[in-house]
């Protein structure tokens, strides 16, 4: 799976989780850029990404993720579909 495809599907997940059809994320997007992305919503986001890509994040990754790019990188390594 290439990075563009991952980013596209991630964008859909973000739109779904944050309930905002116009939301556009890129690799540099962080929690500061999306108002609703707080530490608790992060849990729902992670669960949604895990479901979309049929993979699991490690706790260290969940707690240490700095931006969407890092998330996409982990997905690329581990995604099953």
């Amino acid at each position: 799976m290439n990075m563009n495809e991952i980013m596209e599907r991630l964008n859909e997940v973000f739109r779904d989780v944050f309930d905002d059809k116009r939301l556009v994320v890129d690799e540099y997007t962080t929690a500061d850029d999306i108002e609703d992305w707080d530490s608790l919503e992060h849990i729902n986001l992670i669960a949604a990404v895990e479901q979309e890509f049929k993979m699991k994040f490690k706790m260290k990754e969940v707690s240490g993720m700095k931006n969407v790019g890092e998330m996409a990188e982990i997905v690329r390594e581990r995604a099953k579909r």
Binding site: E35, D36, D38, S39, L40, H42, I43, N44, I46, A47, M59, K60, V62, S63, G64
Partner: protein, 467 residues
């Protein structure tokens, strides 16, 4: 030893600063800090200082093992052992009496609660150690190879007894190499004096008033008297705790360390969730990073983990059910705010939000104060006049009249008034040459006032002996 004492301010600290300044290499500077930190701790805890050192030795070795056996199961085993050891130490020294009492109550057993006094600061330094060990396991930091350097991180007296919980990653480079600039020294001393004044001038005096209301049977208090005292109590804890954090951050800077902020004007928050992003920040981020994302509860983990975090936050503050209740109480309001959602929260008029969150926060401090459940019940009844108490009486009006200036100052300094004035003055070029002089004059005045109050201190409580 506590910061707000003449012995610390006029003997211990100057001696420590002189010895520190007299040394040249980082190794000898670290040695000075270790010696003074151990004396600082041993002053009040001559025996328990050994537990502090034992914790440092055990975790120093375990971190090295984690790094050495990273690829095998050895790292995981060392991590688990460390967590069991650290949480076990907290369990024995902080919670064994509480656990025994509860077992007795539930099973009608007759276990003698062990007579163990809580080592001061154990909750703070244990959490620092846990964060270090987990960060090593997660490869966020390298294990410290030098035991003295690690011991210094664990025992560093500025943050040892009342926080903040300083992450190893925050000061890792400064442990190995640091220097105190003139700017560090000057802002460090200013911050220390500022924190000292918050504690001695405001918090201690508020504490005297609160004690006169809540100190004995509270059933007879009027409705307004109960509200008045609990509002002052909320401010007392803010000035006491944030004052200690200011002193810690200031002392850190004097020795070239830059700790993260622990308070950010919590009372200006617009909702309860925001309050906790501004109050005791180092504890909130600790639980966020090391507990909130624990994959324990499957699909429902968002809310299950939320309540787990708040249960632990409550319990961390003291081994008593009122603290657990207090934690879950805040968890409940944050849960409700999550259900309402940020977008809908935004539509609520700002005045309504302020009334709502201040009510929740202030009543929360009542739960924090009353360990005795019967007294807590009376407190709630008092708030709405269910004890047949008067609405207002002269006890409140006289106290308010006598302490008006103190209370006005306290309310003002809860909000970033001083900060705003400072920024305004700094912007104006005409004033800029006087600000430096004014700062020194203010510092001297505050130090003098605080010292005079300490000479005659009848009420200078140390509130963190439970943490």
């Amino acid at each position: 030893m506590v910061f707000s004492s003449l012995f610390f301010l006029y003997l211990f600290l100057p001696l420590c600063m002189l010895s520190y300044a007299a040394t040249k290499t980082i190794k000898s500077r670290n040695t000075v800090l270790i010696i003074f930190s151990l004396i600082f701790y041993a002053w009040g805890e001559p025996l328990y200082v050994l537990i502090l050192i034992l914790s440092a030795v055990v975790n120093y070795i375990l971190a090295l093992l984690i790094e050495r056996y990273r690829d095998g199961t050895g790292a995981k085993a060392a991590l688990v052992f460390s967590l069991v050891f650290n949480i076990g130490m907290l369990g024995i020294f902080k919670y064994s009496g509480f656990i025994a009492e509860n077992i007795n109550a539930v099973f009608s057993a007759d276990i003698e609660p062990p007579d163990i006094r809580l080592p001061i600061g154990i909750s703070f330094y244990t959490f620092q150690i846990i964060s270090y060990i987990v960060d090593c396991y997660w490869e966020k930091v390298h294990a410290q190879k030098s035991f003295p350097k690690f011991l210094m991180y664990v025992s560093l007296f500025p943050q040892l007894v009342a926080g903040p919980i300083v992450r190893y990653s925050t000061i890792e480079s400064e442990i190995n190499m640091r220097r105190t600039t003139i700017d560090d020294l000057s802002s460090g001393i200013t911050r220390l004096i500022f924190g000292l004044s918050k504690k001695v001038i405001i918090a201690n005096n508020l504490s005297t008033i609160v004690d006169s209301f809540f100190g004995s049977e509270i059933k007879g208090l009027s409705v307004m008297g109960t509200w008045y005292a609990v509002i002052l109590y909320a401010m007392q804890i803010y000035f006491d705790f944030s004052g200690y954090s200011d002193m810690a951050i200031g002392l850190g800077r004097i020795f070239g360390f830059h700790f993260d902020e622990n308070f950010n004007y919590p009372f200006i928050c617009r909702d309860v969730s925001e309050f906790w992003q501004r109050w005791h920040i180092s504890l909130g981020t600790f639980f966020r990073d090391y507990l909130l994302y624990l994959p324990l509860f499957g699909k429902r983990r968002k809310y299950a983990n939320l309540f787990l975090v708040w249960f632990c936050t409550g319990l961390w503050h003291g081994a008593s059910w009122n603290y657990v209740l207090w934690g879950l109480y805040f968890g409940l309001f944050i849960f409700i705010e999550q259900l309402v959602g940020k977008k809908r929260m935004k539509k609520i008029p700002i005045a309504v939000k302020h009334v709502y969150n201040k009510l929740v926060i202030i009543i929360g401090f009542g739960i924090f104060y009353f360990e005795n459940m019967k007294e807590l019940g009376n407190f709630f009844k008092n708030l709405i006049g269910l004890n047949g108490n008067k609405f207002i009486d002269s006890f409140v009006t006289i106290s308010l009249e006598n302490n008006l200036y103190l209370i006005i100052a306290a309310v003002l300094f809860c909000f970033p008034v001083a900060k705003a004035v400072g920024q305004l003055v700094q912007k104006s070029r005409r004033f800029c040459y006087v600000t430096g002089t004014a700062q020194v004059a203010v510092n001297i005045c505050l130090l003098l006032c605080s010292s005079l109050l300490l000479v005659d201190a009848t009420n200078n409580p140390f509130l963190y002996f439970r943490f």
